[in-house]
Amino acid sequence: MAEGHLTPAMFYILLSLVDRDRHGLGIVHDVEERTGGRIKIGPALLYTSLRRLEERALAEISPTRPAQREDDPRRKYYRITRRGRRAAREEAELLDTVLAIARDRNVLPKESGR
């Protein structure tokens, strides 16, 4: 079955779920922090993307709740599935290839020692 295309928002969300389960707001914060505020995921884009990740079984609602003290019973936590990890890796590899091309064509500066 074709995995289909990951939208940028879906990709960011998967990346942010890789290291731990997060709730919606946590994803927004993580993405914004990691990208230095360059990527701001709007509320509806977040939940539509989460929905589509669920539909394609790339992410799911986590049955276990984190033990942190900031756990909020109203919140739904999402976790990445095995398929989701694979999809994220494939997307990252693809991007890596793209980056290599970009470096090769001097769109990005070549890193020294590489």
Partner: protein, 868 residues
């Protein structure tokens, strides 16, 4: 606008927008979505910088655009990328360039509709919705006394304030202030300035921003402290050339040295009566009594609760009918606010007319483009794609219109401020701000969507077959022609309402101007004198100054009569005492506020007020002690059955005055409410007051007399500030300034709505003629005369106008009761005004139809057939 208010509105708006999503998605995720929204709000506002609310909404808007179509439409293969939006923008730009005239007219129309709306909105927003840009936001209130019976508010005394501050628990903070006029000397001409004394706590209560220097601190208010002053920016520029070296310099206020400690960024408007040009510390030099009081309510305490609490605190001196009242700060006189709202309503009508016009043009253009769109459909563009393209086109048009509208708004606002009467002095501080720009953006978006969606939806229904079947074109234009006629009907109806409103204003204004003011403004010059206290502490000095001034003025060759008075015609003092008539036991109730002035012997001769009965003060020659004159209204109301002259009257428990004359009424505010207010003139021939007015009746032109008056005063004492001499006509103009203001605004709007609806009618008729070229050609070919064609086209064009006029008349008569208080001398539904308005509109409509109709008569039948 306060942040809390913006937040509440934004959240509500966002929740409403969530309805755009399919209901299952919206219900399941609503709270989560709102939570992310709130978080975004907090992040952007905590981060600081410009337009945080705008930043929040730019994120939300992108989010909505990205997701709504995807959720609503078929599952999308690709999300809308920036690239395809760019394509839309490029297409829109191309479409605009292709029809420059169309684009130009649409943009100008939108600008003319939106610009004035933004200007008026920002004026109202700052005057009414958000009067004090207060740090404490919506919990800042003012406290004063209000008398229902007199319809006036009074300032509390210091004792009241202290009792409230000790006793009331509803307030986090109460801060007093006092406004006075003081003479600034030592830097250029002596000048009277509005000086407001505040306590340091005022800086915590409301946001007072400084350009340079420091705020007033506790130590400045201590006994024995050096008096300090903060200047407004305009005063600083005018007197000190904007030099920062002003800090630490000394200025003289009423002869007292004040050290300048800073410059205010903006004028501080603590109340409508305190015109602040200098801010000083309250203390020995500026005692606070009576005071203005501003306060901040505790969280959760309403104005009503606070008011009840204050009413429970009894302080002497107390009067039963004066009740402590807690209100939003800085409430303008009700009439002004109401006038502004009515003007705003009229502006909204003009905006609607403009939107209808643009919609009209867009529909017409849409019909022209059926072929193009059909082709795009045939080539695979989806309906959604076409709709989006048309929407983007319209939004680009609207955005261009919006930008031009901001320019228009600035001009309109400058015009409003220029026209505004002194009583709306607060308008000087009004400017276009972020909120009104946001409002303008919202208006622009709304105009773009409303004016664009309708044609987009209609064109969206066009199938790819349309370009094959050419008859679709006529079929389409018929149903859309009907829609356009409906728009014309609406436009004409609205224009009639605005025009009739303007007619009512103009007629009321003329009626006001032609009423007898009760004095003779021609050949009358007036000026104000303000003796600084420090130089004129002794009564003898003041007496000597006035004696010399009167003698010098009298000696001028052009001068016939001179008089000093505490009030001039149309500007009266108010007396709050209850009058008592000698020999009559029953009290006199229900008189309301009384007008009162103290005047010199020659006063009535000077201002030209007729003595109806009795003798003028000038003829008394000291034969009567404590004489008083009353006006006709007072005589009628206080002595209904007898003659006032010869009777004695006193106020409160004061001394008795003998009535020597009944004089004609002076209309103090040039308006109906003042016509039957009792007025009293106390007699005085030796003057001690520090602040008086001088009236001079002269021959010839005003200018040389005015110069001479200034010169005479300066020769006696150059350090006395003079309110520049002015012809008395200015008093009359000032008295009807509010009316003049409303009338002028309305007239401009009426002109605008006429032009807009004429453009609309012209467009519709021209288009109708164009789409009927072949039919008209055939009729000309089989013998129709020019008159037949003319009659046909005019008849078709004028039918919707006729319907619109009838509907507009109905609407105007229905709405007229809302302007009742602005109308003078005629009925609000004055038939003559309505008729004239209808005739003018029909006349303009005929003009707008004649041009295309004449073109129709000149159609060449042969050429017309060839088109088919």
């Amino acid at each position: 606008m306060s942040r809390r208010w913006r937040f509440a509105v934004s959240e509500r708006l966002y929740r409403a927008l969530l309805r755009l999503y399919p209901s299952d998605f919206a219900t399941e995720h609503r709270e989560e979505l709102v939570e992310v929204f709130r978080d975004r709000w907090k992040t952007e506002h905590d981060r600081g910088g410009q337009f945080p609310t705008g930043r929040v909404w730019s994120v939300l808007a992108r989010d909505l655009i990205q997701t709504v179509p995807a959720m609503r439409g078929r599952p999308m293969r690709r999300p809308i990328s920036m690239h395809s939006v760019l394509t839309d923008l490029v297409l829109a730009g191309r479409a605009m360039r292709r029809r420059p005239v169309f684009s130009f007219i649409a943009i100008v129309t939108l600008a003319l509709g939106i610009g004035p709306t933004v200007a008026l909105f920002s004026t109202l927003e700052q005057l009414v919705l958000d009067p004090v840009a207060a740090a404490g936001g919506d919990r800042v209130v003012q406290v004063s006394f209000h008398s229902e019976q007199l319809g006036f508010s009074f300032q509390p005394r210091a004792a009241h304030y202290e009792a409230w501050e000790d006793g009331a628990t509803s307030f986090e903070l109460l801060s007093p202030f006092a406004g006075t006029a003081r003479a600034l000397t030592g830097t250029g001409d002596a000048k009277i300035l509005g000086v407001t004394a505040v306590e340091p706590s005022m800086f915590q209560l409301i946001g007072i921003e400084l350009l340079i220097g420091r705020p007033i601190l506790e130590q400045d208010a201590e006994a024995g402290a050096t008096p300090v002053a903060l200047l407004t920016r305009s005063l600083w520029r005018e007197r000190f050339g904007g030099d920062e070296g002003v800090l630490g310099q000394t200025i003289m206020l009423d002869g007292v040295a004040h050290t300048v400690i800073g410059v205010l960024r903006e004028t501080v408007a603590l109340s409508s009566w305190a015109n602040t040009e200098i801010l000083t510390a309250a203390g020995d030099v500026a005692p606070l009594d009576p005071v203005g009081v501003l306060g901040r309510l505790r969280d959760g305490v309403s104005m009503e609760v606070a008011q009840e609490e204050l009413r429970g605190i009894v302080v002497e001196p107390a009067r039963a009918d004066w009740l402590p009242t807690v209100r939003p700060p800085w409430v303008l006189a009700g009439n002004h606010v109401r006038s502004l709202w009515i003007v705003f309503a009229a502006v909204c009508l003009v905006l609607l007319i403009a939107a209808a016009n643009v919609a009209n043009m867009l529909i017409a253009r849409g019909i022209d483009r059926v072929g193009e769109l059909a082709l795009r459909t045939a080539l695979g563009a989806s309906r959604w794609r076409l709709t989006r393209m048309l929407l983007v086109e319209n939004l680009v048009l609207a955005a261009a219109g919006g930008m031009l509208a901001l320019l228009v708004a600035r001009w309109v606002q400058a015009g409003i401020v220029g026209l505004a009467p002194d009583s709306l002095r607060a308008l000087n501080q009004v400017s276009l701000n972020g909120v009104s720009v946001l409002f303008g953006t919202a208006m622009t978006l709304a105009a773009g969507i409303v004016a664009g969606l309708l044609p987009a939806w209609r064109i969206g229904r066009v199938g790819p077959h349309a370009h094959i079947r050419s008859e679709v074109r006529t079929g389409q234009s018929q149903s859309q022609g009907r829609l356009r006629q409906v728009l014309v009907v609406g436009e004409v109806a609205l224009a009639l309402v605005v025009f009739a409103g303007a007619g009512l204003m103009v007629r009321s204004f003329l009626a006001l101007r032609s009423t007898d003011p009760g004095f003779d403004p021609r050949g009358l010059a007036v000026m104000g004198i303000h003796l600084p206290e420090y130089r004129y502490q002794e009564e003898e000095r003041r007496e000597a100054f006035y004696r010399e001034l009167m003698a010098e003025l009298q000696a001028l060759p052009e001068v016939e009569h001179v008089s000093i008075a505490t009030g001039l015609p149309t500007r009266f003092g108010i007396m709050i005492a209850t009058p008592e008539i000698e020999g009559r036991a029953e009290p006199i109730e229900g008189l309301g506020a009384l007008g009162g002035s103290t005047v010199g012997p020659d006063y009535f001769e000077t201002v030209g007020t007729q003595v109806v009965r009795g003798r003028s003060f000038a003829d008394l020659a000291g034969s009567v002690s404590s004489p008083i004159a009353v006006n006709v209204s007072a005589a009628r109301q206080l002595w209904p059955s007898g003659d006032a002259v010869g009777s004695r009257i006193r106020f409160g428990s004061g001394s008795w005055y003998s009535v020597v004359a009944v004089v004609e009424d002076i209309r103090p505010h040039g308006i109906r409410e003042g016509t039957d207010r009792p007025q009293f003139y106390l007699y005085e021939d030796t003057w001690h007051d520090r602040i008086v007015a001088v009236a001079v009746r002269h021959r010839g032109a005003f200018a040389p007399v005015g110069d001479a008056m200034l010169r005479v005063a300066a020769e006696i004492d150059a350090d006395v500030p003079i309110q520049a001499p002015a012809p008395a006509q200015s008093l009359l103009i000032e008295a009807v300034a509010t009316e003049r203001f409303t009338t002028a605004l309305f007239s401009v709007l009426a002109g605008l709505s006429l032009v807009l609806s004429a453009v609309g009618i012209y467009g519709v008729v021209t288009f109708a003629v164009n789409s009927r070229i072949s039919e008209l050609g055939v009729r000309i070919a089989i013998g129709a005369t020019a008159t037949d064609i003319m009659r046909d086209v005019l008849g078709n064009g004028l039918r919707p106008v006729g319907i619109g006029v009838v509907m507009g008349l109905g609407l105007a008569v229905t709405l007229s009761r809302y302007v009742e208080h602005l109308v003078y001398g005629i009925a609000p539904s004055d038939p003559f005004t309505m008729l004239v308005a209808a005739c003018v509109l029909i006349g303009v409509a005929i003009l707008a139809c004649v041009v295309p109709a004449r073109r129709a008569t000149r159609i060449d039948p042969v050429a017309a057939m060839r088109v088919e």
